[in-house]
Symmetry: C2
Subunit: 553 residues, 2 copies
């Protein structure tokens, strides 16, 4: 996930006002007493990275194919070994397939061939997670994020033999090597490798063999996606943005609980987020590890702050680690003040005001209206926070919550439920969206019957605003299960994540619309992340609900 440029600018400008007024109202640092301890604990829980050497598999061509994902198909033409024995020249780029998605450090050896090189060698090496990244010109760059995320590097080799090391960590399955300029000599690429990194050390037990083939495949790809994103924090995407977002963390940690169980990584991530909160006590939605851990101190995302609480509850239940949960309890408690700030007397979240002061994400769909979702995710967070409080014996500190939750649910039902259609829609805009139904269900606003009815009705509505990402699709599957629509949950998972696999996914994608291969939140599909944390949750569903997902059919 990343901020789309316009949203970014908008958020920052309105945020500054909000922050300055807020900070004055607070002491210098809300968490002064805890912060350095939290950061020390984050450091102490740094996982070690497992390193493995990956070698290229095949030389490929990337051919136009209207049937293939994004119109390009990788075709093997020979084994990679043949590359190392033939002189390279500038006539044609060489494309290579490493056989699977890798995150790490790339290097190759360049050796002179028959004729002494009389000038430097200039190479362009482009790394791609999907074939189209190697076939689509990057310039002029039409995208909304920084073009620098695209993984094309230009290297000058002054003398041969030489070992080229690409200094940035890259994330790829495919790569393309192009000779720039006009060298009058051939040369050899005599070896090539990638030192692959992950902190996912202990692979989970495999699924039973009699499990449906596509479910097994979805699980395998989900595990690989999660594994690639597990570095020294849970990254959202190892190609782009390479950082810790609370919303992604929630889904990753949940999937990790059911797979690698690398709990030091979750612990580290939670402590980092807490330790790097704003002085006003609110959490920044994302943070950067390098050169030293720091947050983007001007960025706030409302429901991500709330999802911290949910993640902590989840972590406590998975690990029984009360020490961590108690240490971070003040953070969870403080986030609930966000809801108070925007709550109307009626028990509704004041969407317009909140939306001016915070970024409210929900999903990547420009056309999505988020009023109903905000109410839903707020109630969801309150319920989970109360649950956490009870687990910690802190419910006395949140005595008012049960009544508040009831009030907010009721207000939501009264205002947003359209009896005629059986669907939820906002007061500000009559849009029918998956997001609205999902969050009314997960928050418990909809009754079981209303939930089932709404989810079934949605499918008949051609113009309902559909999920644009596996992120929202996760909550959709969760809502289906919550509503007892287990068969549909399984079908939808096979449709959606299985659809990516049928289109060639080695890892699951940041954005996916079955009807639009080129969907991009950033206006240029090659800059999408094709190995994205929030897309790994089939790992969680399949293993948490074996009866739904691991049956043979």
């Amino acid at each position: 996930m990343n901020t789309y440029k316009l949203i970014h600018i908008f958020t920052i400008s309105s945020m500054l006002l909000f922050l300055s007024s807020n900070t004055k109202a607070q002491s210098d640092d809300y968490f002064k007493a805890y912060r350095s301890e939290w950061l020390q604990k984050a450091e102490k829980n740094m996982p070690s990275l497992a390193r493995s050497i990956q070698k290229p598999l095949n030389i490929i061509e990337i051919r136009k194919n209207p049937e293939a994902f994004q119109g390009w198909k990788a075709i093997s033409v020979s084994t990679a070994d043949s590359l190392f024995t033939r002189p390279f020249n500038k006539t044609q780029p060489v494309m290579i397939d490493f056989g699977e998605h890798i995150t790490g450090f790339f290097s190759c050896d360049i050796t002179p061939s028959a004729i002494t090189p009389d000038s430097p060698l200039r190479l362009k090496i482009t790394f791609g997670e999907v074939p189209a990244e190697l076939a689509t010109p990057f310039d002029p760059f039409p995208g909304g994020l920084n073009r620098s995320w695209l993984q094309d590097e230009i290297i000058t080799v002054m003398h041969m033999p030489a070992t080229i090391k690409i200094s940035r960590r890259v994330s790829f399955r495919y790569l393309k090597i192009e000779v720039m300029g006009n060298p009058a000599y051939p040369f050899m690429i005599s070896s090539m490798e990638c030192e692959a990194l992950t902190s996912a050390q202990y692979p989970p037990k495999p699924l039973p063999e009699n499990c449906n083939e596509m479910i097994r495949e979805i699980d395998r790809v989900g595990l690989h996606t999660l594994r690639e994103c597990m570095q020294t924090v849970f990254e959202d995407g190892p190609k782009r943005d390479q950082r810790l977002w609370i919303g992604d963390l929630y889904l990753q940690a949940m999937s990790n609980n059911y797979s690698f169980q690398q709990q030091d990584l979750t612990r580290r991530s939670l402590y980092l987020i807490a330790g790097l909160s704003h002085p006003n006590g609110y959490l920044h939605p994302c943070l950067y590890e390098k050169p030293t851990p720091h947050a983007d101190s001007r960025r706030f995302l409302l429901e991500y702050a709330l999802l911290f609480n949910v993640t902590l509850r989840d972590y406590l239940e998975a690990t029984g680690d009360r020490e961590t949960a108690l240490s971070l309890w003040p953070v969870a408690k403080r986030q609930l003040d966000i809801i108070d700030t925007y709550l109307t007397d009626q028990g509704l979240m004041d969407f317009e005001r909140a939306n001016q002061q915070w970024w409210i994400f929900i999903d990547w769909r420009k056309e999505l209206h988020k009023e109903v979702s905000l109410q839903g995710v707020s109630i969801f967070a309150l319920e989970q926070s109360y649950h956490l409080a009870r687990l910690l014996g802190k419910e006395d500190e949140l005595k008012h919550l049960p009544m508040l939750i009831r009030k907010m649910k009721k207000a939501a039902h009264v205002n947003y439920f359209d009896k005629k259609s059986g669907l939820f829609k906002g007061l500000l805009n009559p849009q029918i969206s998956y997001a609205s139904q999902i969050w009314m269900i997960l928050s418990g606003v909809a009754s079981r019957e209303e939930a089932e009815q709404a989810l079934v009705a949605l499918e008949q509505m051609e113009d309902a605003c559909k999920p644009g990402t596996p992120y929202l699709y996760h909550y959709y599957i969760e809502a289906l299960i919550e509503s007892g629509l287990n068969t549909k949950a399984r079908e939808k998972m096979i449709d959606y994540w299985g659809g990516m696999i049928q289109k060639g996914a080695d890892t699951f994608w940041e954005a996916y619309d079955p009807e639009d291969d080129f969907l991009s939140p950033y206006n240029f599909f090659p800059i999408n992340s094709y190995c994205h944390a929030w897309s790994c949750t089939p790992v969680y569903f399949i293993r948490k609900y074996p009866k739904i997902f691991q049956n043979r059919s």
Copy 2:
């Protein structure tokens, strides 16, 4: 100097036949007994490099100006310090002037500004010896050499703060920094430097203060040019080709004798060239130091092989180092066989046959006919070699030479001297060139009177083929002095080298035609070397002939 692509291909293909026939006639390695000793001595004479930290001087703009060299003028707009205190953004490239030509390793520090960088920073840094290099688009590249010599590097900075080190050694006075892509954050360049390298350790005595101002300036720039080219060998150009060519070495060593007197460097260069000769005993014209010293084993340049002998004679006279000269005497002797191979009964060099089998350089002028020059440079080399033999007490080994030289001179005079015009021209082509007159004078074919007459007559000839490089211009000045035209020698030096200075030269250029700023042997002027070894020889003339060049007028 570097081979122009077409010449290169042509030379190599014809050379292969020549080599294979030659190698068979020889033992496995003509210098088997000496080679490893020579290479050891080369290694032993490796000079240390003096390192100094150079800081940027000014921020500049490079403005169009039809009066300026190549149409572009560098204008200072502020001191460089102001760069380090202001946020950088992508709107405009920043251009910087280091105040003088530098060869070394560039680095700068990048620091985040107010907003946390949310994406990598991609910078393009272009280094230029002259302003036009920063103002001329490099692509599409029209040149005949490899575009990779152009010094533009693209850097990806993944995290800030960061120190950027450009891994290639660069040669520049000016640089341009461009922000690529579309970062949504400003950043700071908080410091910048270049670690400058040279093996020229001991600056020569300054010229007397009453010496003509332009001569002093020419001397200063000549010394700086030579200094920049003095690395761990005498390089031809520190920007391009960064290697040891015999023809450049001859002029550099000669200038070094009268200035830095860094004789280990000359010794090392001579031993390297000998140690890396072809197994048939002939010298390769250029060699590469890295990763380990090696020659371009398929390239031969006729008069450069011969100029080795002249350089050795010069070195012996300057140093009295008989040990080195005796050790390398077999090499000098072997090069004379090249002349034997092409000598006709009449005493002329068989130009057509030699030209098929060797590259004959003389000057960068496509239209130049080289028949007469080849005869001249061959006689010149024979005379100098005999001189060397006598210094070493080896004249018995070359007993036949005095008679051969007389015969060749006579044949040249009979065949090439046109009594009517008083000028020399070839049998194969009636072209009148500076090169032909120069080499007929330096070889002693022309009498003193004929020489003077020819040099004066040349100037009246509008369509005479003029020198295209300071390399041939050096021999022109030498010929003028040889012919007693001392005033003209001085005038011509001020005209030619002073002309470069008036056009803004900090170091002297590889190619210079006062009437054509864009002259390039490689079809694209930015790839010319603007700090070129063979252009430094005013240092030699001014100090060897103080009466001619150091007078006040």
